[in-house]
């Protein structure tokens, strides 16, 4: 990746020519620990301030430990089980100096929260004065205010007025508390505002979080405020590179993924070290803590290099001093040998007419190991996230997880494969966005791009931070797109997620699905529910979504339980729409492809990996306001006796209409059934297969990449869901004004007698939503469409435009008394977001349309109950 050069301009001196007195003096060997939310959390990835301080103190051998996490507050430490308290970590890292960055997340409580914030802050500062973490005396605390929100010209960026009014007030309060406790204070609110005014380009990517350039720009001012002197200047690139290398190792240790298995509840699971009778037992904890000790040594080794570079020398990092990690034998010694990818096919039974062929396997493509998610891009290339490190990387691993790209030939076989991104750890989910890819790298979601067209990522921004990964296979995956442009992230049980957003912190404990609009940075809880592990999520032709909890393969009609519910509440138990024949389910999809015969259209495909190892097929029908599923013949079933390691894990419809799926290809798959480091966890296999329907022609792929806007809009008429989604992804690369103008023109010229006219109009509405452009007239037209599916979809759009259309509740009142229960249900759901009792009144109106006054439809009743539960907190 390209790095910004760290050449500090002389503009630094312009900010303040008169040197203020130093707030802080450093001693040789000081340990400086950073605590707080995303502001300090991001500093470890950019390194501006740490580099300057190190450069200024070349002989001090300073130790920096970043203990920050997105979402932290002075009195909020939202971590998975047994993570350790702030106190414990300050002790473990021997803090002599504490840089405390608080106030950002707290500020969203406004005036009402100010008193508690000041009290909490005062308590923190007073307690710190009684602690001797480093053994060298009382820790010296420096308090930093939050930075201001940066007003940006881009209309998709959130407004900053209200946020800054709060931040200003909270910063002033911090100054007060700092003074009262005689603690040095740095007013980053003022410093950042000064810099924003002068900056030629935005310093933040979402108004609240500094980019790398923003971090480097503000670092000299922070330095000056701390030390009363100008920051060191000159080329510090090699020093910063050394700092970032160390920070990466430290982050992998402090925020290790799989925490529930490294230090939490399942770290206590014990396994015999060998199959000898009476062999001693070894826990996950035993082994994983030894790995953590290795990471501590690796961090220290990299620290030595920082000191050398700071002193004008260099040092080759030598990791030969790592402590030993215990090994154990497998508790599943009798692993069946793998058949080849090709030979496995004859042990798969498929639905009549279908045929399986091998696309790729580890034999032809050694990097294709443990594929976990797949998707076709706008060029028609197949992207696969490969996860050989499962459950997670070892400190000594030399092979990393990857994002692979396969170019396919006309026969659907691999013509060329490349690695877009290497060096990953647990890439559990990804999704295309504009000209790049959003990829999960817990605890962060990265947006990565290839800016020079060499097929490799070279640009990165952490766009969401704080997604937990206490159990790596419960981490965000199946990042489906809704038709309106938001994508969805998820957590399973044990997780403690906290994400900082321009609208304030979003926290959740255990299972949840989140809705994320990358364009506007909106991020919110979508379905907080008692999920074990919600792997499956898919939207159908009309934008109705279905959610699958993998562990029990429980399948839910999502509109019913995706209304607002205040944290920490969760939605109540919802019935499943389909009696699943087996479990667990790693992924679902909808078969939307005219290559397959009519009876396959819109089938719900449910993959299953234990017992039944294959793909279930079900068809939907209406169940009141919701749906029910009815099992059809299996699409595919593996013969467990012959290919016990066949684990179909994800599937996607290809541009030519065939269905691709990946085989995780493992005999051992359980996270908890075997030791995390069981040696029989396979790190060598992975397959991609393709299902076609014999005798039916493949579809001619719709050209998307590089097409003009008009052609892309026209592609929205295509029946295949995947084509329309990829067309909208391509459209998102274009200027919104041009896209909207073309869409309006297209919509006006549509053939009104086309049987799909209402769907085409709905797509036009979704393009508006995707581009964050409100068209009230089109919305109102679709709210009263003759097609109930279109009305339901428009009601969903109204929900997300509720703050930008006139009298949204009046519009919802009409939807709530619609003739069709699905529309009423969407209206009831939308009401939950209004946080007023007036919305409850609107939602209740839906009951008057129920056929039987004593027994309302199950889904209507459920959603109404949930909406009333959500609104019971509001007047």
């Amino acid at each position: 990746m390209k790095r910004l050069s760290f050449l500090f301009a002389f503009a630094v001196f312009a900010t303040s020519l008169t040197a203020a007195p130093a707030l802080l003096g450093l001693k040789p060997g000081d340990h400086i620990c950073l605590v707080g939310g995303a502001l300090p959390d991001r500093m470890q990835h950019h390194g501006g301030l740490e580099t300057l301080i190190t450069a200024k103190h070349p002989a001090h051998d300073l130790v920096f430990r970043n203990l920050a996490a997105s979402g932290d507050e002075v009195a909020t430490w939202h971590r998975s089980e047994n993570f350790g308290t702030r106190e414990q970590w300050l002790t473990q890292t021997k803090a002599d100096v504490i840089f405390a960055f608080y106030g950002f997340n707290e500020s969203f409580k406004g005036e009402a929260g100010l008193g508690k914030f000041k009290a909490d802050l005062g308590k923190f500062l007073q307690e710190a004065k009684t602690k001797n973490y480093g053994g060298k005396g009382v820790a010296r605390v420096v308090l930093f205010s939050p930075i201001a929100a940066e007003k940006q010209a881009d209309p998709n960026q959130p407004s900053t007025e209200a946020t800054n009014a709060n931040l200003k007030q909270y910063s002033a309060a911090m100054a007060e508390v700092a003074q009262a406790n005689e603690v040095p204070f740095v007013d980053l609110f003022a410093i950042s505002q000064g810099l924003y005014a002068k900056a030629k380009a935005p310093m933040t990517f979402n108004t609240i979080h500094l980019t790398e350039a923003g971090d480097l720009a503000i670092a000299p001012d922070i330095f000056r405020a701390l030390f009363g002197a100008a920051a060191p200047s000159g080329n510090l690139d090699s020093l910063r590179a050394a700092v970032l290398e160390k920070n990466k190792e430290w982050q992998a240790r402090y925020r290790t993924v799989d925490g529930f298995n490294v230090y939490g509840g399942r770290s206590k699971l014990t396994f015999p070290v060998s199959k000898e009778k009476g062999a001693p037992k070894i826990t996950n904890f035993d082994v994983m803590q030894q790995e953590m000790a290795q990471r501590d040594v690796k961090t220290a080794n990299r620290e030595k290099r920082i000191w050398a570079v700071a002193a004008g020398k260099d040092l080759k990092v030598d990791d030969s001093n790592l402590p030993v990690v215990a090994s154990l034998e497998s508790n599943r010694p009798d692993i069946k040998p793998f058949l080849s990818g090709e030979a496995s096919i004859k042990h798969m039974t498929v639905a009549k007419g279908c045929k399986v062929s091998l696309v790729a396997s580890e034999e032809s493509h050694p990097a294709l190991v443990s594929p976990v998610q797949m998707a076709f891009d706008t060029k028609g290339r197949l992207w696969v996230a490969a996860w050989p490190s499962y459950p997670e990387l070892r400190p000594t691993d030399k092979v990393f997880d990857k994002l692979l790209v396969f170019e396919l030939d006309a026969q659907g076989r691999v013509a060329k494969s490349t690695t877009f991104l290497d060096g990953l750890n647990c890439p559990t989910g990804f999704q295309f966005y504009k000209d790049g890819v959003l990829i999960m790298q817990a605890p962060d979601l990265w947006f990565v791009r290839d800016t020079d067209g060499d097929g490799k990522a070279d640009w990165k921004e952490r766009v969401i931070m704080g997604m937990d990964s206490a159990d790596t296979h419960h981490t965000t995956n199946a990042m489906a797109y809704e038709p309106g442009g938001a994508t969805y992230l998820s957590d399973g049980v044990f997780h403690r997620t906290q994400v900082e957003t321009p609208q304030g912190p979003v926290r959740n404990s255990d299972g949840c699905i989140y809705r994320y609009e990358p364009l506007t940075h909106k991020f919110e809880r979508y379905v907080p529910y008692g999920f074990a592990n919600p792997h499956g999520r898919v939207f159908d032709y009309w934008g109705t979504d279905f959610i699958t909890d993998a562990t029990g393969n429980s399948n839910y009609f999502a509109p019913a339980f995706s209304g607002f519910i205040p944290e920490p509440k969760k939605h109540s138990g919802l019935k499943t729409f389909w009696k699943n024949p087996s479990r667990p389910c790693p992924a679902t999809t909808i078969l939307s492809s005219r290559h397959f015969p009519e009876e396959f259209q819109g089938n719900f495909l449910n993959l299953n990996v234990i017992g039944f190892q294959g793909i279930f097929r079900a068809k939907f029908s209406a169940d009141g306001a919701g749906v029910k599923g009815e099992s059809l013949d299996h699409l595919l079933q593996g013969d467990n006796a012959m290919i016990p390691n066949f684990r179909p894990i994800c599937a996607a419809v290809a541009p030519d209409g065939s269905l691709y799926f990946c085989d995780w290809a493992k005999e051992l798959i359980g996270h908890m059934q075997h030791h995390i480091r069981d040696p029989h966890r396979d790190k060598a296999h992975g397959r991609i297969y393709r299902i076609t329907f014999e005798g039916r022609p493949l579809l001619k792929p719709v050209k998307i990449d590089g097409e003009p806007i008009e052609a892309l809009v026209e592609a929205l008429k295509t029946p295949e869901d995947d084509v329309r989604t990829r067309a909208k992804i391509e459209l998102s690369k274009h200027d919104s004004a041009k896209v909207i103008a073309a869409t309006k023109k297209w919509a006006a010229a549509l053939d009104k007698s086309d049987k799909d006219y209402q769907h085409h109009l709905t797509e036009a509405l979704w393009v508006h939503q995707w581009h964050n452009v409100v068209d009230e007239a089109l919305l109102k037209q679709m709210l009263r469409s003759p097609n109930h599916n279109a009305r339901a979809a428009a009601t969903r759009v109204l929900c997300y435009w509720r703050d930008r259309v006139k009298e949204p509740l009046a519009l919802l009142k009409v939807q709530a008394t619609d003739e069709h229960p699905r529309v009423r249900l969407e209206a009831i759901r939308a009401c939950s977001f209004f946080k007023t009792s007036a919305a409850a009144e609107v939602a209740l109106e839906a009951l008057d349309k129920e056929a039987d006054p004593k027994k309302p439809d199950y889904y209507i009743k459920y959603t109404l109950d949930e909406t009333l539960k959500a609104l019971s907190d509001f007047k």
Binding site: S509, D510, S837, A840, E841, L844, L847, P853, L864, S872
Partner: protein, 630 residues
Amino acid sequence: MNCRLLVALCGVWIAGCALAAPHEHAHDAPKIDKPIVFLDKSPRIVAFQLARLPDAQLLLVDREPTHLKYIPVYEAILLRPAIPANLKQDAVAALAKINKSDAATEILGALKRLPEDQSALAVGLAKLLIAQPAAALKKHHAALQEIAGGDSPAAVRQAAFAALAATQPADALWNFAEEKSGTAYLLIALPLVPDAAVRAAFYAKTAPLLQASTDAPLRRAAVAAVARMPGHEAAAFAALAALVAADADVADCARALAAIPKAQWPAAALQKLATDLLTRAKAIPQSQRTENDYLDIAQLGLDLAAKLPRETGAPIRQAFAALGVNVLRLRTLHEQMLFDRALLVVEAGRPVEVFFENTDVMPHNWVLAAIGAADAVGAAAEKMPPKPDALGRVHVPDMPQVLQASRMLNPGEHARIAFTAPKVPGDYPFLCTFPGHWQRMRGVLKVVGDMETYLAQNPTAPVEIKITEWKSADFAAALTATTAAGDPARGKAVFAKAACASCHQLGAEGVAFGPNLSDSIKRLKGDGLAMLTEILEPSRTIDEKYRNYNFDLTDDETVNGLILKEDAAGVTLRTGPGEAQVQTLPKKMIKTRRPSALSLMPAGLLNTLAREEVLDLLAYLRTANAPARP
């Protein structure tokens, strides 16, 4: 063991009142939000909103006996099983006022709206209905007949029959019931009729049904009814015994016979019945000899044998003993905080099984202690946090004096505790060790060397516990008379030996779990009748500080208690009067919470007291208002 001990052990907990004067409390009152309810909507919308409210929140919905729109609120209250009868009575009165009708009309209306599967609720409404003055019920004679003779759910028809018993002579009602194919409903309803003379008037018609040839459902209804007709005990006994001999509804007959006071059992008929029961018991397969029916039959057989002379009784007892393990039935009494038997007798060193059913509304267990160790065990249990021991039992101290213990049974659960009786004869106390219960809820397992010798020396059966369902009205005259009734000195003795102080402070003495009695007495200005009402109807007004909450946890456990504190991490509860009964539930473990409309204080605590004792206790409380001095 005799009834005096039980009578003296009285636990009293005056319910807090929302109007209580401000005073110091150990905790902040948890707040139940008054729900926002739109009453000006269509009936189905109003009904939907009310239906989803927990009882305590439903009771916070605005309601005045002035406007039609409040009708659904009162109607909803009437159809909630767990809302206490007195609040339902208030709702009935309000509905009568709004509708310009009378109470009986409103109760009848509620019965008609009753869902199919709500027989317990129907019984509650039937009790409200029967409590109406006979003159009022007579006015609704036609309506009652319409329901009783119609096709309403069985429980509703039974309620109407119970009320009709007050409006027309037995013969006329009987004929009506026959005409409407409702004789069985009438018979099932009869035990609800409070007036014994009215019940007895049906004997002549009922007795002929006690024939093997009668249809089984009708006969079973007659069997249960006939046992509760005073003045006809001997004849009923004979008829039931004859059914046993004819092998018809033996278990039902055994239960009915057990309901006839033992003093009325005809001595001459005992031996034959005992022998017949033995024959029937032998016919029950071994595998079913721990089931209810067998146990009821065997229990009656043993009770009968105990009243026989040794030479005839002993072989019968031995024969029963040989049939299976000696099972002792033990139940809890509804809202009394008592076991239904104060004395159990076993032979030393013999295997025995206690079949313990919790038929009360609060959790109870059964713990057998060493001789003289009841207080030590009870006090130790009270100090324990509610953490399960290795066997999953809570409040069972790990001490040698604990000989046997069941787990803590929730309402409706049962447990079997099989063990070998101690080898050393003596009085082994048993008790419920739920904190606050053990002072009152006790009995004795008498271990004897030889059962026959013991019975010969103790020919009278243990005295049965006398229960009176006291109502404030029973004391209204005595408590409002100018000369106050009751003796404070005797009342102090009642109070001192009672368990009141295990949950309440009087002055500075006692445990501060429920409201402070001195404050309550002051607030009620020493009004004896008001005090009595709060004791007898603890759920009528509940101070939010003492609101009981039910928590369903993610591990499928349920916990009840008062909320002391709540923060982001968890909810701190006090689950009982013991200092150790404070526990913090992590938020992540809480699935749901529901405020309860029921007070934690049982409603029937005075029901084992004699009338004089109630008056003495009130006299003591009335004069004990002065703060305790050191």
